[in-house]
């Protein structure tokens, strides 16, 4: 297990290096540079600025400098935000995005497993038909629509009580987090529901479920100990990429709910060609996702012994 983990970590480091290199290359191929957004400056000032930021050096030289700094954990200073360290931006805003993402994944997983198991139990009966219809909606409707609808719902609830029970936007308390994380997790929840349903239906017909019944186990014991654990495997498999999708795809929801997450900086930096912020956030997100996928793989090993040993 330890060798497996180390192997995965090593592969992860290579992946992150690759992400960094690819981003660096792509970024420098985009026409323009971080200074073009500034007020028209004289050639002299521009040359000074370029010298200050190291932009006067060739791309390979810049790459080597960037890699050296990255290894020592320094992503540099933002071009667009005066004197702000990229590390500070990440430190200030990532915890917000991460909290939102974790809560969304939490909602999505609990909901997906629950609804999926429920639809499998009530296969082709009314609860199944209703939930599966909602699942189609959840998958096909984009998150900003749900975000707006969610806000509308909150407004109605608040006006019904005549007070701000649950805040419609902003960040800070737990009640701020509820609606955005549910909205963010909705698509994933729908996907997981479908997956869980088909997986459950497949497993009901497995021979070992028949064996469990022949052993005289109660239906609830069979459901929890034999069916659920095996049915949950495919769900865990897609959880890695889904965490990726949720944490990086959260910026739309962050925008609608006015949440000070990292997503906004991530998008803005690309628009403004803020080199250091682009590299910092991309490498950080990349490393985070690689870590998540590795964690999911290890978790998978705990649930399915066949993965653990092979």
């Amino acid at each position: 297990m330890l060798a497996y983990t180390l192997k995965r970590l090593l592969a992860g480091i290579v992946t992150v290096w690759f992400i960094a290199t690819a981003t660096f290359t792509a970024m420098h191929m985009v026409p323009g540079d971080p200074l073009m957004n500034d007020k028209a400056v004289s050639a002299e000032i521009r040359a000074n600025l370029e010298r200050k930021y190291g932009l006067d050096k060739s791309a390979p030289e810049q790459y080597v400098i960037f890699m050296k700094n990255m290894l020592s954990g320094d992503f540099g200073i933002s071009f667009t935000q005066q004197n702000r360290q990229v590390n500070d931006i990440i430190r200030d805003h990532f915890p917000v995005s991460a909290t939102l993402g974790i809560m969304a994944i939490f909602f999505a997983t609990i909901g997906g497993v629950l609804w999926g198991a429920l639809t499998a139990l009530y296969r082709n009966r009314l609860p199944d038909i209703i939930i599966m219809f909602l699942v189609i909606l959840g998958i096909s409707v984009p998150s900003f629509v749900f975000a707006a609808l969610g806000q509308l719902l909150l407004v109605n609830i608040n006006s019904l009580f005549g007070a701000s029970i649950i805040p419609v936007a902003g960040w800070g308390t737990f009640s701020h987090m509820l609606m955005p994380s549910m909205v963010l997790g909705l698509g994933t929840m729908a996907l997981l529901t479908r997956l869980m349903r088909s997986s459950m239906l497949e497993i009901v017909n497995e021979d070992y479920i028949r064996t469990a019944r022949a052993k005289g186990l109660s239906p609830s014991r069979i459901f929890f100990r034999h069916q659920l654990r095996n049915a949950i495997l495919p769900v865990i498999t897609v959880l890695g990429p889904q965490i990726a999708a949720i944490t990086t795809g959260g910026f739309v929801v962050e925008l609608v709910f006015a949440i000070p997450g990292l997503g906004r900086y991530f998008v803005q930096a690309v628009q403004q060609l803020d080199y250091t912020v682009i590299m910092g956030t991309t490498v950080f997100y990349g490393a985070f996702l690689v870590l998540m996928v590795i964690l999911v793989d290890i978790l998978y090993g705990f649930i399915d012994p066949r993965v653990r040993l092979s």
């Binding site: 497995e206 021979d207 070992y208 028949r210 064996t211 469990a212 019944r213 022949a214 052993k215 005289g216 186990l217 109660s218 239906p219 014991r221 100990r225 034999h226 654990r229 095996n230 649930i303 399915d304 012994p305 066949r306 040993l309």
Partner: protein, 350 residues
């Protein structure tokens, strides 16, 4: 014969007029049509027949394992020591399943939960039914694995099904089914998925454990060689009915139903008889969506008579202790004599 007679006195499981249907898109399949049999204490009853004749459905109905719907037990009773166990709700059924009646299945590779250790799967039964602590149950699980001759039982108990071979898994299945000392073991084609040398070992283990544990075995198989090795009595099933039943010698040496004859002739033997060709039974079994009014074997039977097409035969009893019967009109006192077939009034072989 005195052992046999004793066995009849103490009937542990009696099945009476069992009828099972399955609703499908194509219509209703009458999979089991009026099956009667009983199992005595310590005896082995083999149920033989070709695929789709209803032998597995019969035993799965007894265990309450057929999925309902589409399956439905439309009539009949199965009595375990006198108490009906058919159509019970899960809670009631679980008082005998795994306790009084253990069951093992055809494919041990898929019959155990891949994400639980072998030991945990066995101790689970003990914890549920015998209310043992996890530690006690685990210790007993190791003892059970040891009893089924799994080497290094302790180490093996901590392993998962994918670390076992097919034969070892079937041993583990047997260990699991014996956990609560059942009085009946139902083995649904226990050796079909195993290769021949392992088959012999598993069968040997089963007959040994039968003696030490004092249990009855219902053995489902389509392998007559297995029947000859294991069975005390044999029920031959065809198209959802038992067409002939008797002691194993009666079935093999005094076969009284043309279908039993057909099965025997299709069985390879290891005598030096290379010139003798195996004779397959021509045709295929009747459509159980609309079972024939007469004998199910009518269309394939070399001795079929006019009567067979329209009227089902009664059970003709052929031996003094009424152990042997055949459901064939050829056993009627006025039926023509048929070569090879044992008929009422023929000299007994033994």
């Amino acid at each position: 014969m005195s052992d046999m007679d004793d066995a009849y006195k103490d009937k542990i499981l009696e099945v009476e007029n069992l009828n099972v249907e399955f609703s499908t898109y194509g219509g209703v399949v009458q999979a089991v049509r009026g099956v009667n049999f009983s199992v005595g204490r310590g005896e082995t009853l083999a149920i033989v027949g070709e695929s789709g004749c209803g032998k597995s459905v019969t035993v799965q109905s007894i265990m309450g394992l057929i999925p309902t719907p589409p399956g439905k037990i439309t009539a009949g009773e199965a009595r375990l020591r006198g108490n009906n166990i058919l159509n019970l709700p899960a809670k009631e059924a679980n008082k005998f399943r795994g306790v009084e009646i253990g069951m093992i299945f055809q494919d041990p590779m898929t019959s155990l939960n891949p994400t639980m250790t072998i030991g945990d799967q066995i101790s689970e039964t003990l914890m549920v039914h015998r209310h043992l602590s996890y530690a006690d149950a685990s210790a007993k699980a190791v003892a059970l694995l040891d009893k089924t001759r799994i080497p290094e039982a302790k180490k093996r108990a901590a392993q998962y099904p994918f670390e076992f071979s097919g034969g070892m898994l079937q041993r583990a299945m047997i260990a699991q089914s014996l956990a609560c000392n059942p009085s009946v073991l139902i083995a649904d084609e226990p050796t079909t998925a195993l290769d021949v040398t392992i088959q012999a070992q598993i069968l040997e283990l089963m007959s040994e454990l039968q003696k030490t544990e004092d249990m009855s075995i219902i053995l489902i198989t389509h392998d007559l060689a297995v029947v000859a090795k294991m069975a005390d009595r044999v029920a031959v099933m065809y198209a959802g009915q038992i067409v002939e039943m008797g002691a194993v010698d009666e079935i093999f040496y005094e076969s009284a139903h043309p279908y039993t004859m057909g099965l025997k002739e299709a069985m390879p033997s290891n005598r030096n008889d290379r010139a003798k060709k195996l004779t397959p039974i021509e045709g295929s079994p009747p459509d159980l969506f609309s079972p024939p009014a007469g004998c199910g074997y009518y269309a394939r039977c070399p001795h079929a008579m006019k009567l067979c097409e329209t009227k089902q035969s009664e059970e003709f009893i052929l031996s003094s202790n009424s152990s042997h019967f055949s459901k064939c009109w050829l056993q009627h006192p006025e039926a023509p004599k048929t070569d090879g077939l044992f008929q009422a009034g023929d000299e007994h072989a033994s």
